[in-house]
Symmetry: C3
Subunit: 212 residues, 3 copies
């Protein structure tokens, strides 16, 4: 039992670091200063979970008492700031870590939502928020249309994982089984979608691109 939660915790830290790197990379590309890089790393790494905890009323939230999260995010920012090209060369490892983070964040979000007695669809929404919220904030701050809203299977992986997790837990499958299964499913879908260039359907192309 202890082993399992230690592994989950370690993967959670790994994901936080990977999310931090992804935020910092966007900041460096946008030529932000060292503070901007630190902020974007932090927001990307902990933003989704922070909003989830605000909605669920979890006080203190996950990073207020455990300094590891903020430290990892800041280290990720600093590393990227100093050695952007080295981080970029390790992109394939980053994509793997990022997928692991997505999987772990999804499971943690779904689990906390179920603990709070959220209805099924709210469980999926809060899991997705935990997984992709930080990335959306990163893109808003960097003045991009959030990448997850445009053309990636990123969030879908998260949603499928959350549904499977919710379903298993509702059928009383043990948490120790469902958590790794659902997380692994997210990682698998994410990596496969990337490898084979899956895309979600877009709206019909006849829609006029008028500003509202």
């Amino acid at each position: 039992m202890v082993d399992f939660s230690v592994i989950l915790q370690s993967l959670d830290y790994l994901g936080t670091f990977a999310f931090g790197l992804s935020g910092a990379m966007v900041a460096v590309r946008k030529e932000m200063d060292v503070f901007g890089v630190a902020v974007l790393a932090t927001v990307t790494a902990i933003g989704g979970g922070t909003v989830r905890d605000m909605i669920l009323g979890n006080v203190p939230n996950f990073w207020m008492t455990d300094p590891t999260y903020l430290c990892l995010a800041l280290i990720a920012g600093l590393v990227t700031f100093i050695a952007y090209h080295a981080v970029e060369r390790g992109l394939s490892a980053l994509i793997l870590f990022d997928a692991i983070g997505l999987g772990v964040f999804t499971v943690i979000g779904a689990w906390l939502a179920m603990e709070a007695d959220a209805c099924a669809i709210a469980v999926v929404a809060l899991a997705a928020l935990t997984g992709v919220g930080g990335g959306v904030m990163r893109d808003v701050l960097a003045r991009e249309v959030p990448i997850v809203l445009r053309d990636e299977v990123y969030a879908s992986a998260c949603i499928v994982g959350a549904i499977v997790f919710w379903w298993g837990m509702t059928l009383h499958v043990m948490l120790d089984v469902m958590a790794p299964v659902a997380a692994a499913l997210v990682v698998t879908i994410r990596l496969l979608s990337r490898k084979y260039h899956w895309h979600l359907p877009r709206p019909e192309h006849t829609v006029p691109k008028v500003q509202r």
Copy 2:
């Protein structure tokens, strides 16, 4: 008494659906994929109320235990994704429903703020946040300067309604009277302002348009 709250609840659902359609329409125009359309529909429909509940410390919030809100938002997203042109042809109905949503959201926000013993100006602020918050988030995610900050009487309708509601409640008028009166006032101002092209004053035009 039961009838009244059933009507309010029904109009709240109607408004949620209309807000969801408006979010989804922006997403389709921005050529987002099906997930992006779902997110923008959801954020527009429930975003304002979610932030209000976070500020008020309402846990669980309104959509965590009643799945109807998220379902309506997602259905609105899906309908718009599949049949954008049909939704657009129904624009006049959409505008009516949207105005109804604005009225109901305003009253619910003002009421919850008064229940939490907020001061008068905070009641108005929280009512306005409930009414226009979702639309502002929609526009931020879609990389528009939020439309309510630019040139619509949209938010003013909301503010007038909230003031009237607060005033009536302070004078001990019954909730069953004030809620429909204030909501109807919001709807009326909104529809009249649209019909007669009312505008709020803009700053003097001699201001230099310098980037800060």
Copy 3:
């Protein structure tokens, strides 16, 4: 003791007003209507503290029971809307008030975080959020890349002040000493950095400016 908290409160109000002016000035430059100016003034003035209170679970938050904050923000908006050029001519006073606001907001944020038993790094993060959060929201709503993420020592002043405050409090220095010292430090760094054009390091310039 009473005197001290009265002074802190007064400076807090002064800072709120200055932050409100800075938000309203951006809104006027962006040609927003009177409602948009009011919203940007309000969000800039109280946005950082509002998110801090949501994270800390402080309900009711600071502006729900004390109407002064929202009133000051709205007056700042109105003044700027009516007399933009006068406000701009008073820019050097505004910069001083803004620096005072930054100092006071930082100390209040750090103090509330310590009261909530946050770890050291979370204290600094919440202090920085209180100080710069409103300005970041202002820039997101006005569709700018947030200025604090680009090229100012703004946030660094805040961080240094928060670290000194946390350090002093941990060494059991009295609050009445540490609060003014830390706030004054923030103000000093801010004003000196502006006068002497200090800049934080940017990433190496060879980074490709590729859209992600």
